[in-house]
């Protein structure tokens, strides 16, 4: 359903990778590996439609990236997109509404429970630690199980072992339900997947 053909990306005039192609079907997990600066984040941002590729194209269900794709895709980048002034609950409410999901407060609390931060729901995000902030951002995964494609950039960074287990369980459930997942990670966190693949970007 997600197809990348002859993809090439440049950053600041330097060619990061070229002629990269893959196709993902329901239940597929794709791990993107590579050294620092090899273009993992750029590849993910290209798949999310933020960065324009130097060559090649990304297709979703046979069409170029568009509104339909954006409704069926969840991208979590390095930045947590968590506002200091808002509570954890308000942050998640806004994040899900902007991605087009109408979600009740009870559902958000469930999602926070999933990540083990339910007791922080009404705390302004200013008081969160780095790891808690990351958990709050990742709580969107528990809110969006029906979103077909997840693009996660370093989802396990700054997380402790317990949180890593929780997130990998969410990912496994998503894949088992026929979702797709592309993730970059330096840690080799085991995720149960019907079909797992990896691409290695040469820096």
């Amino acid at each position: 359903m997600l197809e990348a053909t002859a993809l090439a990306c440049e950053r600041g005039g330097i060619r990061l990778f070229s002629d990269l192609g893959f196709a993902l079907r329901a239940g597929d997990l794709l791990r993107v590996r590579g050294a620092n600066g090899s273009g993992k984040t750029t590849l993910l941002r290209t798949l999310a439609g933020l960065t324009r590729p130097a060559a090649g194209e990304v297709c979703w269900r046979g069409n170029a990236i568009g509104d339909e794709y954006r409704r069926e895709m969840l991208f979590l980048g390095h930045a947590a997109a968590v506002k200091d002034e808002l509570t954890v609950l308000e942050n998640l409410e806004f994040a899900s509404r902007i991605s087009g999901l109408e979600i009740s407060e009870a559902k958000i609390k469930n999602a926070l429970e999933c990540l083990g931060i339910a007791r922080l729901a009404d705390l302004p995000a200013r008081y969160l630690s780095q790891g808690q902030r990351k958990r709050a951002a990742l709580a969107r995964l528990a809110l969006a199980p029906a979103v077909a494609l997840w693009l996660l950039d370093e989802p396990f960074a700054a997380l402790d072992d317990e949180a890593i287990t929780r997130v990998s369980a969410l990912c496994a459930a998503h894949l088992a339900a026929g979702g797709m997942l592309v993730l970059t990670s330096h840690q080799d966190v085991p995720i149960e997947a019907p079909d797992a693949r990896a691409i290695e970007l040469q820096g």
């Binding site: 933020l50 954006r70 895709m73 980048g77 930045a79 506002k83 902007i98």
Partner: protein
Amino acid sequence: MLRASAFIIRRELRLALRRKGDVLNVLVFFVVVASLFPLGVGPEPNHLRAMAAGVAWIAALLAAVLSLPRLFAADYADGTLEQMLVSPQPLIVVVLAKAAAHWLLTGLPLALAAPVIGLQYDLPTDALGVLLASLLIGTPVLSLLGAAGAALTLGVRGGGALLGLLVLPLFVPVLVFGAGAVTSTLIGINPGAHLSLLGAFLAVSSLIGPWAACAALRVALD
């Protein structure tokens, strides 16, 4: 689309409520700048009356420029803007909602404070009304064109100063017609023509500003 812009505006207002300083700073800056002029040029009433509209408008432009760098900067830094771009909401709706919230938080308070400034300058009542009207029509232009400037200077070091250089020339027509409306009232000419031109400028900038801001945001986040 309306719902999307409504909840973005609500969020912006809520954020502003949690950091009131940002909004108050701009308003206080406006009042202070406009109040410095009589101290500098002396208390000759005829002088003051003649320059009142120009001073109020220039102070409003400077206050707007002061507030504009924050329009996208915080959302850019914490990744919210990225999420807005990958969301199914049309980017133009996001930009329009943010510009509307910016006007509610800066343009509108400035316009409402302006008659008080006008009193300091001994403006007659009808001129005070025209000053308020000109600011109510003109300040949305500052938010709309300012959004484009803020998007263009996003992530640039020293972007605040650059933003001023970029948008202040674009604000010239607003200044000319806005201040012109009040001045013409003072000499007994109907300000309708000036206000109509101001309205026309608002219509044009509501087409150009958000569109340019969208293009600039896409480039900034590439």
